[in-house]
């Protein structure tokens, strides 16, 4: 598995993604974006924003006019749009399907929005469209999911998540003296 190498080689780093999306959002909301606006939105110093934006201008992703207003090149705009779309799709999946708290979902989405493939985001969007189709089958599926609760006999050793549920269960509850391992505990909380 060379996935970790692809992670390191991604030309759109976390910082680059944030700067491009910040500019796109500012342009949408106010019709203009300056270095100070980007810095304030990202809660970083102006010096820090200046250094990253200088590099993005050099790469041809960000433009700056004579009055120092920022813009996005066609390529920069395409990257920003793609990241925003992926963020929206994954965010909805986390909140509406998995039941993650919006704040936590936003934080987690932020970590992966620029890393997941367009294909995965498209599949997530397709799944969301399926869920909002409101067909009887979907309603039955949603009802079953909302009621889903695992029996106490859930066996982490058989879980498709490998050891994650066991680790989560052990972290969530202090080990009791004399108690058996987390194997007998209910590891998946109902939504």
């Amino acid at each position: 598995m060379d996935s970790w190498k692809a992670f390191d080689q991604n030309p759109v780093t976390h910082s680059v993604a944030h700067h491009l999306v910040a500019i796109a959002e500012l342009l949408d909301e106010y019709g203009y974006a300056r270095v100070s606006d980007v810095a304030r939105r990202l809660e970083i110093t102006r010096g820090s924003a200046s250094i990253t934006l200088k590099s993005l201008k050099h790469r041809g992703l960000v433009t700056e006019d004579d009055r120092r207003f920022l813009g996005l090149s066609a390529e920069g705009e395409a990257i920003a749009r793609s990241i925003r779309a992926r963020k929206a799709a994954i965010g909805m999946l986390f909140v509406q399907v998995l039941g993650v708290e919006p704040r936590q979902a936003d934080e987690d989405t932020c970590k992966i929005e620029h890393l997941i493939s367009v294909h995965t985001a498209e599949r997530a969007t397709r799944f969301l469209r399926f869920l909002t189709s409101r067909t009887p089958e979907v309603q039955a599926f949603q009802a079953a999911w909302s009621r889903f609760d695992e029996p106490d006999g859930h066996d982490p050793a058989q879980c498709p998540c490998h050891d994650i549920c066991r680790a989560a269960g052990e972290a969530a509850a202090p080990r009791r003296v004399g108690a058996a391992s987390g194997r007998s505990r209910k590891s998946h909380e109902p939504r």
Binding site: S15, V35, S36, A39, E43, I44, T45, R46, G47, S48, A49, S50, I51, K54
Partner: protein, 138 residues
């Protein structure tokens, strides 16, 4: 601009100055080549000057009844840099600081003490930016 907004703006400048000092230190540590002998000294002087500016800003915050607050988010690459690139980077963040003081001056119009403070800082930053520009042009 009310007092709370002024303190918030000054805290942004405080962070700006401290971060610049850290960047100067990092650049002085990573600069390579023959010019290192000359540029490193200049970068370390820059660090000391920005720390002085930070102290001045911090005192102003205290005078206004606030408390200096620092929330730095900075990642500096583990890369060696050339002297000219180091100076260009320093120029970029110094210009950012200069603009930030200019923005403060625009916001505090009417408050003579704060106006004078902003003007004094702008003069210092302008001199710093000019000296860096001279190094690049030379």
């Amino acid at each position: 601009m009310n007092r709370a907004e002024t303190i918030r703006a000054l805290n942004e400048l405080y962070a700006e100055e401290i971060e610049a000092a850290v960047r100067y230190l990092h650049l002085s540590a990573t600069v390579k080549g023959l010019d290192r002998l000359l540029v490193r000294k200049h970068l370390l002087e820059g660090m000391e000057e920005t720390l002085e500016h930070a102290q001045t800003v911090a005192e102003k915050i205290l005078q206004l009844g606030g408390a200096p607050r620092l929330d730095l988010r900075i990642q500096l690459p583990a890369e060696r840099t050339t002297a000219s690139d180091a100076i260009r980077t320093a120029l970029t963040f110094e210009q950012g600081a200069l603009e930030a003081y200019g923005e403060l001056l625009n916001k505090v119009t009417g408050d003579v003490a704060l106006e004078e403070f902003a003007r004094a800082q702008i003069e210092l930053e302008s001199r710093h930016v000019a000296s860096l520009q001279l190094l690049i042009e030379g």
